[in-house]
């Protein structure tokens, strides 16, 4: 039964190679079918894993190199429900992203090949139980992303954003690698469960372990693109092909947070090094992202740039849930990441229908009447979902995170979440309002297939279905945070029962806050549409726009500087708080 575990990675990888071989001898429709079949296979295998993992974490040792006497010899996949669900989400979002590849008119087999490798790497990132494996999949995701980001080589925006993406993410990856080297030097193993056990055997403060934790957190935060590591994302969202942008917004930035919580709960939770400090750091960064990027999303005008800031703000909300360091927080983050990722993918599909499928410096393509209506409808529904209508999983996830934040002693973070939901919801609704009356101007005709709108609707429906998975998420999160039970499943030893599942559901207070956020977003969007800049004098808002534009002008040096400042600050805070 457990032989299913490597398939979500192996099948897309094999298909990627097959696509490269056959692309010159078969028609493009066949290439596209191979890619679609591989993605659907990944989705089915991941769904089967989600089902199987209900009875306990599935451990698969490659080549049969099982642990001897509690010491890991080989490399393992350790699949729990949350990991399998991550692989499933990656597959669903990739399937939706593939639907937009018609836009790449000269798309050769290489685009499909890259998307499939990207999917395999995302699935592997979710399923692996080995620290170095985690890094390899992390890099594989990144390299596929760099190539796709630079796909429109005729666009300077695309090339520049790919450079910024590649350099900033590589710095993050090297920080992760340094942390891995430090942990390996301390424990002599790369298996997550075994590192956790060995660190727990030596209680007491260990500054080296704290530094490793800080570097790992920063490395994954660069991938998650939260403030102040978000500069590369804003540029990439503006310049990359829609297929990458859908994947980025749908699942990739949440995977950065997944990397942090996976490593934290398997390795560091039992070592108690800088534990509370790391939670506080994550919540603070999450709140800064949610508020800062939420406010900036209303400042910028290009719709894709706007959605870039919305993405940063929402990753901040996911990060607040992760920073609560509780099962409730994890459950809320998982629900929000899945519910929001599908909505975000639907939003980008709506923008593609409106003709925003080329880099920002290219001419916009003009949609026909039907496609424009479909795009506006998707953006309007997506805007309401972004603000967190309880019908969608964004509403449930947000409410659960607010709950967890209040219990963990950060009630102010719950306020930040509501404000961020109002701001980002208004930012999306404004795009829909503005697009309603547009339609003339220069440019080619936009020729997306009619069923792309149906894909967007399906994504919104998935978000609504996820909203019913509260109990499932609470059980999955309880297993996820049970460090000792995870170590026992992977390495053996006396049986340990996982933690008790917390109560997760939409409380009356949470539902009221959700509705307030939706109403606030609608009022803010319509208010701003009626009177330009009602909240500040025109000179001030122009100055804000100029300053924000200058801060996000795509300078690689700035991005690297902020990464360095963030790394130093987080490392110092964690090191000082280790006693």
């Amino acid at each position: 039964m457990s032989n299913l575990a490597p398939l979500p990675v192996a099948v897309p990888l094999g298909a990627a190679a097959a696509v490269l071989f056959v692309q010159f001898i078969v028609p493009r429709a066949v290439v596209r079918s191979i890619a679609a079949a591989a993605v659907l296979a990944e989705v089915s295998f991941s769904a089967a894993l989600v089902h199987q993992a209900a009875t306990g974490t599935i451990v698969y040792w490659f080549g049969g190199w099982a642990p001897r006497a509690g010491a890991a010899l080989g490399i393992s996949f350790a699949v729990d429900r949350l990991g399998a669900a991550g692989a499933l989400l990656a597959g669903v979002i990739t399937a939706a992203a593939l639907a937009t590849t018609r836009e790449l008119r000269e798309a050769s087999g290489i685009v499909y090949s890259l998307v499939l490798v990207l999917l395999a790497a995302m699935a592997g990132f979710c399923l692996t139980g080995d620290l170095f494996n985690l890094f390899v999949f992390f890099e594989l995701i990144a390299v596929c992303g760099f190539v796709l980001a630079a796909y429109h080589t005729e666009s300077l925006t695309a090339l520049r954003s790919a450079l910024s993406f590649a350099i900033t993410n590589s710095i993050g990856a090297f920080l992760v690698l340094i942390a891995i080297a430090l942990l390996y030097g301390r424990t002599g193993t790369l298996n997550l469960a075994e590192i956790g056990r060995k660190l727990a055997a030596h209680p007491g403060p260990d500054r080296l372990v704290t530094v490793a934790l800080a570097l790992l957190v920063v490395g994954f935060l660069v991938k998650a693109a939260v403030v102040p590591f978000h500069f590369w994302l804003i540029d990439t969202v503006t310049g990359a092909p829609v297929v990458l942008v859908v994947i980025l917004g749908g699942v990739l930035d949440s995977l950065g947070v997944y990397g942090i919580v996976r490593v934290y709960w398997t390795v560091f939770a039992s070592a108690s090094a800088g534990q509370h400090a790391v939670g506080a750091v994550l919540v603070a960064l999450g709140a800064a992202s949610a508020l800062g990027a939420g406010a900036l999303s209303l400042v910028f005008s290009h719709p894709r740039r706007r959605l870039g800031f919305v993405m940063v703000a929402h990753t901040g909300i996911v990060l607040i849930g992760a920073g609560c360091l509780s099962a409730t927080g994890i459950a809320g983050s998982a629900l929000y990441a899945a519910g929001d990722g599908t909505v975000k993918a639907a939003l980008f599909i709506g923008l593609a229908l409106l003709g925003f499928d080329e880099p920002a410096d290219a001419l916009r393509r003009i949609p026909g009447q039907v496609r424009r209506r479909a795009g506006v409808a998707l953006l309007a529904a997506g805007g309401i979902a972004t603000a967190g209508l309880p019908l969608f999983a964004t509403g449930l996830g947000k409410a659960v995170i607010e709950d967890a934040a209040s219990h963990a002693g950060y009630p102010w973070a719950a306020v930040c979440i509501v404000v961020a939901a109002v701001l980002t919801g208004a930012a999306v609704l404004e795009i829909a309002l503005a697009a309603r009356g547009s339609g003339n101007g220069p440019g080619d005709v936009c020729d997306h297939p009619w069923w792309l709108g149906a894909v967007g609707v399906a994504l919104l429906a998935i978000s609504a279905v996820v909203a019913t998975a509260g109990r499932w998420a609470s059980r999955a999160a309880a297993v996820f945070v049970s460090t000792a039970a995870y170590q026992q499943r992977v390495l053996g030893g006396p049986r340990v029962a996982p933690a008790v599942a917390p109560h997760v559901g939409l409380s009356a207070g949470g539902a009221v806050l959700d509705l307030i956020a939706v109403a606030g977003a609608a009022v803010l969007a319509s208010g701003r549409a009626r009177a330009a800049g009602p909240f500040m004098p025109a000179t001030v808002s122009a100055a804000v726009r100029r300053a924000a534009g200058r801060a996000h002008d795509g300078s690689i040096g700035d991005s690297a500087t902020w990464a360095a400042i963030g790394t130093a600050a987080i490392t110092v805070v964690l090191a000082v708080s280790t006693r």
Binding site: F132, V136, E139, V143, F146, A150, T153, L156, T157, L159, R160, L163, A166, I167, S170, I171, A173, F174, L177, I178, I180, A181, L182, Y184, G185, T238, V299, F300, S301, H302, R305, A360, D361, L363, R364, E430, I431, L433, A434, G437, S438, N440, G441, P442, R528, A529, R530, A532, G533, R546, G549, R550, H552, D553, G554, S555, I556, G557, A560, A564
Partner: protein
Amino acid sequence: MSFLPYAVAIWLFVVGLYGIVTSRNLLHQIISLSVLQASTYVLLLAIGFRRGAAAPVFADIPANRAAVDPIVQALSLTDVVVGATVTALLLAIAVQLHKRTGSLDPEALRRWPEGRETEDGARGLSDGRATHGWRPPTG
């Protein structure tokens, strides 16, 4: 155990980062990234090093002879592959940028053209009419 390799690793990291932050030439910037990455090689190999131990190839040495840690060497090798991929890709992008702009100065690329787009575009969006940021940029 000597602190020298660790000091070298930190130095390479810092000097590479300084190069990336201050560079005015894309080739210089990309090579700075490689320098930064070299710190990870040094760190990995330093962690696995044992004085007086042999290379971890047991074909021609006794199996009980002390050897340096082969795992970190495997990690470094993977790291080298990653580095080569990223560097090749970055250089390809730099070539494309040079073709388009005739320049390799990363600072010359900033404020293109979004800087302007934010300034005149946002007003159009807030009054709810058509033009926001959708007019083709003139830069």
